[in-house]
């Protein structure tokens, strides 16, 4: 079914199609309409799930952690300060290896208060052990939510589906809501290997020693460090799983095919602009304009931030002369985190391209197409210190 609806409604429909059984969420702008839509689905009996109106985001994720530990498929969503309030639980969910899916509707973080979009919220949780996927439009939001469950449940790692607040969450766009039987074929019911069960008692998340230790039968159980190593290895393996899931999705729904990097005009590009989220679509117009001036430039939207798709990045960027990273987040006292990551990934290339960094759109500062045009043109022409700020008025 084709509809014209908001990004939040797209996400809610994805959750409904994925048959999440337990939804626990706490309202925060710009995530709120997503939460409202889900409670409406549940209340109207359109979704066979429970909506738990928790008293905080910490509890929202706690409910999901416990529901997942007990063998159910949970969902939650948040933004900005809500995500930070969950921080302890984010690490807990990943450490406990629970396939939870959460939407993060990207918003700047206070203080001072802002409700507008940037991506500092998701970026600041980069090392919590979650897979972080980003959507660039409404179709990608609904499709990614469905895929996220398939990925999470294959690798037993929680997945964040991030999309830009307001720019995507509150704007209306046409998208297709896939048919629910077809989604059922793509995403089977959740059947975890271990779950809390009085018939098969187990003690989960027990205090674990620094070193390995034999169990009562004499078999060696891992120490904390082995458990962490497993998380890391499986997170790297998630790159393959993301690809397989994307291929399967493509074969059934005919959408996808660019699960790590979504390129535009990059085949012959000497310069490539890189960013995450909806900005990559805005940049397509800019690239088109620069192409008219015979500047060979393309744009890449990164769809995955963790696990970092470094191989795909090297493959796509290795023959470019210059890479321009634009980001709505910043590692204070250094540079953009995405920029630093991409720079590191390119270190091993034989012909290392130059790489520039622009910080823009913080706290919803408007990003004008002309500004992007000027910045990219500048980067293709002269060497500049990093990071540069776009739209800063001082």
């Amino acid at each position: 079914m084709h509809v014209i609806e908001s990004g939040n409604v797209a996400a809610a429909n994805g959750v409904k199609l994925a048959r999440a059984h337990v939804v626990a969420a706490y309202p925060i702008t710009p995530q709120t309409p997503l939460t409202e839509k889900l409670s409406e689905f549940v209340d109207a009996g359109e979704m066979d799930a429970e909506y738990i109106p928790v008293e905080s985001e910490h509890s929202a994720l706690s409910v999901c952690i416990a529901a997942s530990s007990a063998g159910s498929r949970p969902f939650t969503a948040t933004s900005a300060n809500g995500l930070l309030y969950m921080s302890e639980q984010l690490h807990w969910a990943a450490g406990a290896r629970l396939p939870i899916v959460m939407c993060v509707v990207n918003r700047g973080i206070g203080a001072p208060w802002t409700v507008w979009n940037d991506q500092q919220d998701a970026f600041s949780q980069r090392d919590a052990g979650w897979v972080q996927l980003f959507a660039c439009d409404h179709q990608q939001i609904i499709d990614t939510v469905i895929q996220a469950y398939a990925i999470a449940e294959t690798v037993s790692i929680p997945v964040m589906v991030c999309y830009d607040g307001y720019i995507l969450s509150h704007t209306y766009m046409p998208f297709e809501i896939p048919d629910s039987d077809t989604v059922d074929g793509f995403l089977p019911a959740f059947s975890p290997e271990y779950a809390l069960n009085p018939a098969k008692p187990c003690n989960l998340n027990t205090v674990t020693l620094p070193d390995i230790r034999p169990d009562v039968r004499g078999d060696t159980a891992p120490g904390y460090m082995e458990i962490r190593h497993n998380l890391h290895t499986d997170m790297r393996e998630a790159l393959n799983v993301i690809k397989t899931v994307d291929e399967k999705f493509y074969s059934i729904f005919g959408r996808g095919g660019h699960c790590f990097i979504e390129p535009y005009n990059c085949e012959d590009a000497e310069y490539i602009a890189v960013c995450i989220g909806s900005l990559s679509y805005q940049l397509r117009d800019v690239v088109d304009a620069l192409r008219q001036d015979r500047i060979k430039i393309g744009v890449c939207g990164l769809r995955v931030y963790r696990p970092f798709p470094d191989e795909a990045i090297r493959e796509t960027f290795k023959s470019a002369k210059g890479i321009i990273v634009l980001e709505k987040a910043l590692s204070y006292g250094y540079e953009g985190a995405l920029y630093a990551d991409i720079k590191a990934a390119l270190y091993d290339c034989d012909n290392r391209p130059f790489i520039h960094n622009y910080i823009l759109g913080l706290g919803g500062r408007e990003i004008k197409t002309q500004q992007l045009l000027d910045a990219l043109r500048q980067s293709c022409t002269i060497d500049i210190p990093v990071p540069q700020w776009i739209g800063l008025k001082m």
């Binding site: 928790v54 008293e55 706690s62 416990a66 989960l204 998340n205 027990t206």
Partner: protein, 299 residues
């Protein structure tokens, strides 16, 4: 009427293994053993960081035979909520979900989640074992540490503030069952859990659990000291069922007989050694006044 519970007819099934990591004489280990007998095998436990986390053993060895989810400090009641929701999704309405948290995990950092869950009417049993300080981290004050007590964060002049009345706070949510118990009266505690299991909605049981290591007394006196707290009228055993308040056996009997002076109880523990004579006298006055109101209540 059901047979009266005695030590002779408690279930023989031991769900807590002997040789766990609790200190000798630990009040918690007594009520944990008895409490799990009352809960039975069709139960899922939720435990935040506390002495109980340690009692349960270090991975991969567990001291209990029930499934247990260890959770973060503030999240106990929300986690119990999540398990219940998952069980309902699986059409399981028979398994009991029981949270066991310390006084810190209940009255301080866990209070928000507990309040939310009580307001939502979640069908769990929440057991707060009150050893009146953060013991796991080395005896720091908590919201339920009594006034004047020496802890490692009130080391010289003792805690300035009064003990927070957590059962009253929880009762104010209008939940169907709130009770207090003591490790010194394990059968009373057992019966209260049994009753809680028959009630739907949130059930809260607050248990006074003497702690030799944190309170400074000889481990052999755990029961004796727990009893003195009740017999002096300092710590009262009661049930509040749908707003109907009733003192339970050992406290009920105090309505008709003399209570022990609180000084007897206070003298037994090193944590009270900073109390002045005047302060002890005023504690006695407060207890007397409280019992006047109990006596004035129509029964």
């Amino acid at each position: 009427m059901a047979e009266k519970t005695t030590v002779l007819n408690l279930p023989e099934d031991e769900l807590v293994h002997p040789g766990n990591r609790a200190c000798a004489g630990c009040g918690l280990s007594i009520i944990y053993r008895i409490g799990l007998k009352a809960l039975g095998r069709d139960t899922i436990l939720v435990v935040p960081p506390s002495c109980l986390t340690v009692l349960q053993g270090l991975y991969p060895i567990a001291a209990t035979q029930l499934p247990c989810l260890n959770v973060t400090f503030a999240s106990t009641a929300a986690a119990a909520t999540g398990i219940l929701a998952a069980l309902r999704a699986q059409k399981n309405t028979s398994t009991t979900v029981a949270a066991w948290a310390g006084d810190g995990g209940t009255s301080d950092i866990g209070l928000q989640a507990l309040s939310g869950a009580c307001e939502r009417g979640e069908n769990f049993i929440f057991i707060c074992y009150d050893n009146e300080a953060y013991m796991n981290t080395g005896v720091q004050r908590s919201g339920t540490t009594p006034q004047g007590v020496l802890t490692t964060t009130t080391p010289i002049s003792g805690k300035k503030q009064k003990k927070k009345d957590v059962p009253a706070i929880i009762a104010a949510h209008g939940i169907p069952y709130v009770a207090t118990a003591s490790a010194a009266y394990p059968i009373d505690f057992y019966d209260k859990i049994k009753k809680a299991k028959t009630i739907s909605g949130p059930k809260y049981i607050h248990v006074h659990t003497p702690c030799p290591s944190g309170w400074g007394f000889n481990p052999r006196y755990t029961i004796k000291i727990g009893r003195m707290a009740v017999e002096s009228g300092l710590y009262d055993l009661y049930e509040n069922e749908n707003g109907h308040f009733e003192l339970s056996g050992p406290s009920q009997r105090l309505l008709k007989k003399d209570r022990r002076p609180v000084s007897e109880y206070l003298e037994t523990q090193a944590r009270f050694r900073g109390l002045s004579e005047a302060r002890i006298a005023s504690i006695q006055q407060e207890v007397d006044a409280k019992w006047e109101t109990y006596r004035a209540q129509p029964s």
